[in-house]
Symmetry: C2
Subunit: 349 residues, 2 copies
DNA sequence: GTGAAAGCGCTAACAG
DNA sequence: CTGTTAGCGCTTTCAC
C-alpha cells in the first residue's frame, strides 16, 4: 500500500517536466522518440496510472455516465442496463448505476450524488415533476426513460397506449368478454396502458375491471391473484402490469386449480426472457428493454456531444405482440355465457 | 447552464471565509448561529452543491464502492448486486458497478478505471491469478467473490463442493443411476462442483458423465440439450451448472417430447427467483446470492475501516437444497434397467 | 519541442 | 470561533 506514483514521479524519473508527461499521456502532443521512450519506460516502471479524479476536476469530464433505475431485480431494467452499458462502453465511457429501490426519498439523494460524478444520466423514475426540475437544475445532460419528460428534455419510451391497445385487440378477437387489468398506479406507463386497454374495449362495447398491485413484482402478482379469481364475475382474461406480476399471478392461479389459458387467459408486458419458460409460456408485449437502454444512451451521448436537447426530442419505440400459450380463444359457448356478465353495465353505476 | 457556484461564491455571499464554509458543510465545526444562518442562506440561494471530486482528491475517499460482475442478466448476480447495494447504502456509500460481460480483456480495463473511482471493490471474476495480482496492486481494498483468493485477501463464496455433494446424495437416494453434469469449465466453482458430484457418486459406485456448456446461460442450456438426450445411454438425471442452464435445458427437453422429471430429473444451482415458475418447478441449491452480496460488502467495509485483510479471511456460505418438482424418484424397475449402464465402468478407465 | 506557472474546488493544519 | 495558507494531481496557456 505504498503511495501511488504521481505524474511528478514519472516526470522526475524520465527527466522531463510534468507538463510533458501530461501531454504525452493524453496524446495532446508528440515528442522526440527518445523522450517518448523515456516517459513510457518511467510509466511502466512505476506502474503509473493517472488519477481520473484530478483530471476530471480540471476538464470537467468524468468519463462516466449514470443510470438510475427502480429495481435491478426486474429483468426489464436489467436488460435496459445491459443495452445502456454496451453503448456506453462503445463510447469509451463507464456506466455507473444506482438502484433506487423504488424509494422516493433515497432517489433524490442518490441522484444528487451520482450526478456530480458523471457527464450525464439516464433516469428511469416515478418522481413528480418538481423533482425532475431539480435534476435538470443539476446542469447535467439527462435523458428520461419510460416516462414523459418536461418540454425540451430528451426522453425515450415505449408506446404504452399502443401496447395495451394491441393486447385488447388480441383478447377481444379471441372472444374474451370479461377482461381485468392488474394495474400499478404509481408507475408512469400505467395510465397509458389503462387508457389503451379501456379505449380498445370500449370500442367493442366491453367493460374493464381494474385491480391494483402495490408493486411491479412477482410477489404482488401472487398476492392479488385470489381476489381476482374469487371475484363474483371471474374475468376470462387478465392483463398484468408487467410480466413479473403475470408470473406471480399464474403461479398462484395454478396452485388454486385454475387452468391457464383454458379458464383464464393471462398476458404480461415487457417480454422478459423468462416468459418463455413459465407454464404456460407467457403471452406478452415486447417493450424492447435492451434497445431502450441502447437508444437512451445514444440520446444521452448526442447531448453530451453538445447537441441541443430540444432538437433531440422524444423517441418512441414500437411495442410488439409476442403470442405464446397463456392466452387462448374462448369457445363460443363461453363467450355467450359471459356476455350476460356485461349486461350490468346498463344498470349504470 | 451558467457556471456552478463554488465554495468561494458561498463564502463571498455569506461574508465569511471559504474555510468556514467548508467546515460548516462537513459539520466539522459549529459556528455562531448568525454565521451558520448566513452560510445556509447563501447555500440555498445559490443552490450550491459541493463538488465531490474536489473533496475526494484531498480526502482520498470517494464515498463509492465498486462491484464488478460477469453478467447482470444472470439473476444470481442481480441478487448479489441488490444485497451489496443495500449494505453500501446503509454505510452511506454509493454503489458503482461494471458488467464485464464475460469479457476477459475488457475486464482489466474496466476494473482499472473503476478502481480509481472507488474506495474499494468486490470482484466476481474468472480472471487468472496474475491478473488478480494486478488488481491488488491497485492498492484498494478488494474482496473476491465466488472464487478462491490469493492468500491474505478476503474472499467470500458458497461451498460449491458441498452443494454438489448434496445434489448427488439427493439424486442417488431417489434412485438415479445414470447422472450427467452440464459443466462450465471456465467458471471457478465448476471444478469444485464437479468434484463434489463425482466424489459423491463414486462413493456410491456410480459414474458421472460430463457435458460442456459454453456459457452459464439459458441459450447454452438449450443448445446442449439435444446432445444430452440423444446420447446412447440417456441420463436419468442432469445436474446443470446453474439454474439458467437448467431452464434452457428443460425448455428444449419439453419441446423434444421428454418429460421432466419422469424421463429425466433436472437440477440447477443458485435458486434464482424464476426457478419456482418454470415447468416443472426447478429443484436447485440455494447459493444465497443476495446474502453473498451483503456479506461481501460487509467484508469490504471492514477492510475500508482499516481492519487487516489477513484477519478478515475467507467466508464460506452454506448452500441449501431446494426441492421442487424437476426431480423425482426413479421406480425400481427403471433403476435396475439402468444399472446395466453402469457396468462398463469395470472395463477400466 | 519543452517547461514554468497558474489554477480546478476543496480540505487541513495552523494561526489569530 | 474564524481566517490564512498550503497544497491534492493534473491540465493548460504561454513563454522559451
Amino acid at each position: 500500500m505504498n503511495k501511488k506514483p504521481t505524474i511528478r514521479d514519472v516526470a522526475a524519473k524520465a527527466g522531463v517536466s510534468i507538463a510533458t508527461v501530461s501531454k504525452f499521456i493524453n496524446s495532446t502532443q508528440r515528442f522526440t522518440a527518445a523522450v517518448e521512450r523515456k516517459i513510457q519506460a518511467a510509466i511502466d516502471e512505476l506502474a503509473y496510472h493517472s488519477n481520473p479524479l484530478a483530471r476530471s476536476m480540471i476538464t470537467g469530464k468524468t468519463g462516466s455516465v449514470g443510470v438510475a433505475i427502480l429495481d435491478i431485480a426486474n429483468p426489464h431494467f436489467t436488460s435496459m442496463v445491459k443495452g445502456a452499458n454496451r453503448v456506453a462502453l462503445e463510447h469509451g465511457y463507464n456506466l455507473l448505476f444506482v438502484d433506487t429501490e423504488e424509494n422516493q426519498a433515497r432517489e433524490d439523494e442518490l441522484l444528487g450524488a451520482l450526478s456530480r460524478r458523471v457527464d450525464g444520466l439516464i433516469v428511469s423514475s416515478r418522481m413528480p415533476e418538481e423533482q425532475m426540475d431539480r435534476i435538470l437544475a443539476l446542469g447535467k445532460p439527462v435523458v428520461f426513460s419510460g416516462r414523459p419528460a418536461p418540454a425540451g428534455v430528451p426522453s425515450i419510451g415505449v408506446d404504452a397506449y399502443a401496447a395495451a391497445y394491441m393486447i385488447g385487440e388480441l383478447l377481444v378477437k379471441q372472444g374474451h368478454r370479461h377482461i381485468a387489468y392488474l394495474g400499478f398506479a404509481p408507475a408512469r406507463p400505467d395510465m397509458e396502458r389503462m387508457r389503451g386497454l379501456s379505449e380498445c374495449l370500449e370500442a367493442h362495447g366491453l367493460p374493464l375491471v381494474r385491480f391494483e398491485v402495490r408493486g411491479p413484482t412477482i410477489a404482488e402478482g401472487e398476492r392479488v391473484c385470489s381476489s381476482v379469481i374469487l371475484r363474483k364475475e371471474k374475468p376470462d382474461a387478465v392483463v398484468c402490469y408487467n410480466d413479473m406480476v403475470a408470473i406471480g399471478f399464474m403461479g398462484v392461479a395454478r396452485s388454486l386449480g385454475i387452468s391457464i389459458p383454458s379458464d383464464i387467459s393471462v398476458v404480461g408486458v415487457d417480454n422478459i426472457p423468462f416468459g418463455r419458460f413459465t407454464s404456460p409460456a407467457l403471452t406478452t408485449v415486447d417493450t424492447q428493454s435492451e434497445r431502450l437502454g441502447e437508444e437512451a444512451m445514444r440520446l444521452l451521448f448526442r447531448q453530451i456531444a453538445g447537441e441541443n436537447p430540444p432538437d433531440i426530442g422524444h423517441m418512441m419505440l414500437e411495442p410488439r405482440l409476442v403470442m405464446r400459450e397463456s392466452t387462448a380463444p374462448r369457445p363460443v359457448a363461453a363467450v355467450e355465457a359471459v356476455a350476460v356478465a356485461v349486461m350490468p353495465r346498463k344498470r349504470g353505476r
